[in-house]
């Protein structure tokens, strides 16, 4: 069987205009990379929304990150003060990464 390593899978749900800001934090913590997935529609306390708004200001994305526990903690610590004002949704889960030593 192939070797795996335990890593954290971080998902950050964020308004599109704020993605570059979050990515800057990711880079400061020196995580190897990131991937952005678009949310097509959704709803919450502010009611429903759909991606098809001329104003992209209310559209959202998920930033997906694989990182080791240490860097994951650094990142969540760095982002914690912004959670409310940016209304981020930040989740962390355990994953096995196959041959994932570089993450």
């Amino acid at each position: 069987m192939v070797a795996t390593v335990k890593r954290k899978r971080i998902e950050i749900l964020v308004d599109n205009p704020l993605v570059p800001k979050i990515v800057n934090y990711v880079k400061k913590v020196d995580i190897s990379g990131w991937s952005v997935i678009k949310i097509a529609s959704g709803g919450g306390r502010d009611g429903r929304w759909q991606q098809d708004e001329v104003s992209g200001a209310a559209a959202k994305s998920i930033i997906l990150l694989i990182a080791n526990e240490e860097k994951a903690n650094q990142l969540t610590d760095a982002l914690a003060p912004l959670l409310d004002s940016y209304s981020l949704l930040l989740t962390v889960a355990n994953v096995e990464v196959v041959r994932g030593d570089r993450f």
């Binding site: 800001k21 502010d46 009611g47 991606q51 001329v54 992209g56 912004l82």
Partner: protein
Amino acid sequence: MILDTLTSPVILFFILGFIAAVIRSDLAIPEAFAKAMSIYLMAAIGLKGGVEVASTGFSVDLAAAAVSGVLLGFTLPILAFILLRSFAKLSAIDAGAVSAHYGSVSVVTFVTAIELLTATGLRPDGFMVGVMALMEIPAIITGLLLARAYSKRLKESEELEDDGGSNLMHEVLTNGSVILLLGAFMIGFIAGAEGFAPIEPLFAVGFKGVLCLFLLDMGLIAARRLLETRKITIPLATLAVMLPIINGTIGTVVGTLVGLDPGSAAILGVLCASASYIAVPAAMRLALPQADPGIYLAMSLGITFPFNILFGISLFAAIAKFLG
């Protein structure tokens, strides 16, 4: 002119979209198509404006319009801020964000106004496209300064993000729609009527039809915003109608005073009356994340945009004609 307006296909498509959303139809314009149309519209008006200025040359009117536009962009948010604070009891942060929207401009309102005014013989000058591009930004600065000056919460958290300022200015000055409008304007200016001729077919033939389909989408979006919002109080709804009337009247009067022809004065009024829903929301999400997008989007997209399309444009045209 209001009757003309209401039976023009451009406006009827807007109404169709609005009704479709109200009866909860699943009609939807794909996001990529809507963005494609807005890129097309901005390139087209930029080019046409540039070509026109290339043939008429720079003029005193152009300078007068540009200076008035920029000054109005800087100052109109102050009035809005006062009204939003006192009459609608918004927090300083929310009031700053909303006032930035009302000081800035809506490209689609501008384009629709150009069409409607031209159809009724009040053809505005080509350089007003450039004025519009210049007016996108100043209100953002005033809005932010007002929010910072009057919000305790902001002052405290300021140390946290000292890099914010320069980033924001860069973001705002390099905003896609500003670059595209000014860039297409420059290209039109450099190419001139002759260079423009080979590409004119696309930008001339399709223009009004594309505007129809775009307004169909805007109708859907405006109505959905309005239906989904839970943030609009009666004072806010009132201001979303009063602010365009006040700002638009000021703009039209100023335009007339600085010597613009009635069409251009009316357009300056429309620019002042219109509220941004592309550049400014993105900037506010970045610079004032604490401000509630539910408020500024519902006001600018859900109320002010339809108001201007259906009534505002005709109103400022009437004022301009009366004064001119």
